[in-house]
């Protein structure tokens, strides 16, 4: 057995201890200062307290954080697979591992969550051993057991979770996926000793990151194996979901049973109300009017200048690792022909699409975003409408009916309308089908829908090329429901390469070069048509303290729980 990242861990613990002492000292000073200020009749509108944080932002509690939010797919850690769902739930459902709540690349650093420590990993990379922290409780007060991990993973298979593909590498998981009965032999737990042993069938380079995903967030063993969005199960994070009304609101409050974990702050707002608004302009206006404290929506293109000029101090611009692309179902006509998929790649004018986003995007042909070390710019499909038309003629598919799928989110629909226009120019009978954002991904991810083409995007779950190519383009991971491979891309050579690279625990320069090749292979086969990497905005009221309490996490973006108000 070899200890995984032991040196890092020891240093981490040492650092944490020093920080803890420092924080304690600062907290004491801050508390005394606050007490003196309070005696002097200081005005504290927020009614909270201020201390120094151990993470990236100050600790300054306040009663309620009101958020204008985008539609959420599910409020069930086993089913949600959206930035909106995870943005809330990574603070509600902790797994064995989690990420530091800090700005910048350091936020991608794995830290122990419910586990006492990072795992011990066998020399062959097949066995992971964890020990749970002592005295852990769910938000309802019930004890956290080691066997809950097994139940959590089994539940993913029972509910056809979009995350099942991450766990099929566990010994016995594939069999359980087929029968949905019995046990997963690769999961061995001992509730008394609080130990969890995970055995993999073959090495998996990203498995630690997988254990930090929301899918792996612990839920009690008796959680029903069906969508629990409206009655979310108790969790172990600093917050718990108090109420979720689909397409209306989510209310998240403090978890009274949260045992503080280093690197996962207790959070500042006592309560967070996420009001779901579909329209970007309504969301922006709700913050300008003061109805909400923060808008997670992008700012409408025609109001970017106004917001920059009038509210520059309340605006944050950031670039998460993301790629927007058109999926083209490789199994269905006309996109089952390479010429057609290449034609779409030639026909779309990526520079033009950038303007749909007010210029807050960069045109791209790569599937992997430029923030990755494995990224090497691809220039394979210059905008060439004539060549695209020739390819369509060669394919003999002109005149066929094509349905372009999109959610009704304005930024999605505009890009899908653009593709519809392009397909019509190429000679197809294209029409748009725009549906509610809350059901969009589940709908196009269901093979019964037979979605031909449409808009898709991806924001990294964890910083590893596997999260892009294995999750989205590996033909071996195509599922009937909650399929993430919307293109049904199934190129044997690419599948084999992904499977081969998956076994490597380390991302060496050599391996990175191999991943560059996979990115290129995806585009040579035109399994998708990537078009932009977007920039995003966070917009707040003037009351919010962005100098001290703004943390934009590399994976989960703005960390709501670390927000605070001025004064």
């Amino acid at each position: 057995m070899r200890p995984q990242g032991g040196a890092v861990n020891q240093m981490g613990v040492g650092m944490t201890e020093r920080w803890r002492r420092l924080v304690g000292l600062f907290a004491l000073i801050a508390a005394l200062t606050f007490a003196v200020a309070a005696c002097g009749g200081g005005d504290d509108e927020a009614g909270g307290t201020t201390t120094e944080a151990s993470g990236g932002a100050a600790e300054k509690t306040f009663p309620e954080f009101k958020i204008a939010y985008e539609p959420i797919d599910y409020m069930d850690p086993g089913l949600s697979y959206s930035v909106q769902g995870w943005g809330i739930m990574w603070n509600v459902y902790l797994g064995l591992l989690t990420y530091k709540h800090v700005d910048g690349p350091e936020g991608a650093e794995l830290i122990p969550g419910l586990a006492e420590d990072l795992p011990e990993i066998s020399d062959d990379g097949l066995t992971y051993n964890f020990t749970l922290r002592e005295g852990l409780k769910y938000s309802d007060g019930s004890p956290v057991k080691a066997s809950d991990f097994t139940a959590t993973v089994k539940r993913l298979f029972l509910i056809d979770s979009p995350g099942v593909g991450f766990f099929t590498g566990i010994v016995g998981a594939e069999q359980f996926a087929k029968t949905k009965k019995g046990e997963i032999s690769g999961l061995v737990t001992d509730d008394d000793a609080r130990t969890i042993e995970i055995k993999l069938a073959k090495p998996q380079g990203d498995f630690l990151h997988i254990l930090a995903m929301v899918f792996a967030g612990f839920v009690p063993a008796n959680t029903p194996a069906k969508d629990q969005s409206t009655t979310p199960p108790p969790g172990t994070g600093p917050y718990m979901v108090d109420e979720f009304v689909p397409n209306r609101r989510a209310v998240v409050v403090r978890n009274p049973n949260y045992a503080e974990i280093d690197g996962v702050p207790k959070g500042n707002p006592d309560k967070m109300t996420f009001t779901i608004l579909e329209e970007d302009s309504a969301s922006l206006q709700s913050v300008i009017d003061g109805t909400n404290d923060y808008s997670s929506h992008p700012i409408p293109v025609d109001r970017l200048g106004e917001v920059q000029n009038q509210y520059a101090d309340q605006l944050k611009l950031y670039t998460p690792a993301n790629t927007y692309y058109y999926f083209m179902n490789n199994r269905l006509a006309p996109f089952n022909k390479l010429e057609v998929r290449q034609a779409v790649n030639y026909a779309i004018d990526r520079a033009a699409i950038v303007r749909l986003y007010g210029g807050l995007a960069t045109a791209t042909e790569n599937f992997l975003p430029p923030t990755y070390p494995q990224y090497k710019k691809i220039l394979m499909y210059p905008h060439d409408m004539e060549k695209a038309k020739q390819l369509v003629q060669q394919s003999g598919t002109a005149g066929q009916a094509v349905t372009v799928w999109s959610s009704t989110r304005e930024t999605h629909q505009k890009a899908a309308e653009y593709l519809t226009d392009i397909l019509n120019q190429l000679g197809y009978k294209a029409k748009l089908r725009a549906i509610d954002p809350a059901i969009y991904w589940a709908t196009i991810g269901n093979q019964k829908t037979k979605a031909q083409t449409g808009l898709a995007n991806w924001f990294q779950d964890y910083p590893h090329p596997l999260n892009w190519f294995d999750t989205l383009l590996n033909g071996n991971r195509i599922t009937e429901e909650h399929n993430n491979n919307y293109s049904n891309a199934d190129v044997p050579a690419m599948n084999d390469k992904i499977e081969e690279l998956k076994k490597n625990a380390e991302l060496t320069d050599e391996i990175n070069t191999e991943w560059e090749g996979v990115d290129r292979m995806a585009l040579e086969n035109a399994v998708v048509a990537p078009f932009v990497n977007r920039q995003f905005t966070d917009f707040f009221t003037a009351e919010m303290d962005l100098d001290n309490c703004y943390v934009n996490h590399v994976l989960y973006q703005f960390d709501y729980i670390q927000s605070c108000k001025k004064g």
């Binding site: 329209e279 970007d280 302009s281 409408p300 293109v301 025609d302 109001r303 970017l304 200048g305 106004e306 917001v307 920059q308 000029n309 520059a312 605006l315 611009l317 004018d349 520079a351 033009a352 699409i353 950038v354 303007r355 749909l356 986003y357 007010g358 210029g359 807050l360 009916a401 349905t403 009704t408 304005e410 629909q413 505009k414 309308e417 653009y418 519809t420 226009d421 019509n424 029409k431 748009l432 089908r433 725009a434 549906i435 920039q535 905005t537």
Partner: protein
């Protein structure tokens, strides 16, 4: 002295008139109605306005092809257009720039081409939307779609309502009971809610049952939905009229002379309710255009990117603060169309049967 009795008969006035002005020709009720209508200049003016709107919308493809040189759904994100001799971006590049003082990244203002009236040679008369589409072209095509749906659904709705009213009113019995209950059921549900429910369901997968095969996104979907949800509002009053006519002597006489049911319905009853049908038809077009606009505004009618006045208002209301004309222009078009049709409909009703109380209520 006795007073001589006057020889007074019913024909005296006629005889007098004939003596003074020559023989009086028999006039059909339709001619008399037309004579009354043509004296109603407000109604005729309204009709002219409606015809003008229809003409302008019918000419949309010609305008789009020869003047605007674009289609209703064609995007022009990187195009430039000549305005008063200068080349101007339809949509400016936007993006970010570095503040020369602070060095921080600033977001650049994005310029979307506003209304050009005739400064760009007939292009972008009403400006562009954020996808670079020509709003004027979309308004005209949107009008075509709204009018097609409004008139098409009015034709279907009126035919269905007339057929059901004739069957129910003439035959009575269980057939009448069934048709009346169906009308009651439809009328019991709020028109817009029923429209949204049907529109949302059918806009996803279309309608594929038996011989009917309608794809999602087809204009037939809102047309048929509006026809069905409003059929009761035309059918019920027509049935009432037929029930009244059914007891008249001329119907009894026709039946006693051996006329078939079809003949009685088509030759006796139908002509007697024709004026009401005509008035209903006129009024229901206006009503249907409003319902279409409401359904499309709520996403249950015409599906984007295809325009209708309702979808254009829906798109426009997102940027009502920065480009109010995107909402005002299609909104004004709806108001003009509906008001002109209602004024004409009222005039037609007065001309055909001033005592009739024909109106659409829901």
């Amino acid at each position: 002295m006795t007073q001589q009795a006057t020889d007074f008969t019913l024909d005296t006035a006629t005889e007098l008139a004939e003596r003074d002005h020559g023989p009086i020709e028999g006039r059909s009720p339709w001619y008399l109605a037309w004579r009354r209508l043509r004296r109603n200049l407000v109604a005729l003016g309204a009709l002219m306005v409606f015809f003008l709107i229809v003409f302008v919308c019918v000419m949309a493809p010609w305008y789009a092809e020869n003047i605007a040189e674009t289609g209703p759904n064609r995007t022009h994100l990187t195009d430039k257009v000549e305005v008063d001799g200068k080349m101007v971006d339809v949509i400016s590049a936007g993006g970010t720039e570095q503040d020369p003082e602070t060095g921080e990244l600033r977001i650049k203002t994005v310029q979307v081409l506003g209304p050009q009236l005739w400064h760009a040679g007939g292009k972008y008369v009403l400006g562009a939307d954020p996808s670079g589409r020509d709003i004027a072209v979309r308004v005209l095509y949107g009008g075509r779609n709204s009018l097609l749906i409004g008139i098409g659904s009015a034709i279907i709705c009126t035919i269905l309502a007339t057929v059901f009213a004739l069957l129910a009113g003439y035959y009575g019995g269980w057939g009448d009971w069934l048709i009346t209950r169906v009308f009651d059921l439809i009328a019991a549900l709020p028109v817009i809610l029923l429209g949204i429910a049907l529109g949302t369901a059918l806009s996803i997968n279309g309608f594929h049952h038996g011989p009917i095969d309608v794809e999602s996104g087809s204009l037939w979907i809102p047309t048929l939905i509006i026809s069905v949800i409003l059929v009761a509002y035309v059918g019920r009053p027509l049935r009432g009229q037929i029930l009244g006519l059914r007891e008249k002597e001329f119907i009894e006489a026709s039946i006693s002379q051996g006329a078939s049911a079809r003949r009685v319905m088509l030759s006796e009853l139908l002509p007697n309710i024709a004026s009401s049908i005509l008035v209903f038809f006129t009024l229901i077009i206006a009503n249907n255009i409003l319902v279409e606009a409401a359904l499309s505004f709520l996403g249950a009618g015409v599906q984007p990117p295809n325009p209708s006045w309702g979808t254009l208002i829906s798109e426009g209301q997102l940027r009502i603060r920065t480009a109010p004309w995107l909402t005002i222009v299609p909104g004004t078009a709806i108001v003009l169309t509906v008001v002109s049709l209602n004024i004409f409909g009222d005039g037609l009703r007065d001309a055909l049967d001033p005592r009739a109380k024909v109106r659409i209520e829901h």
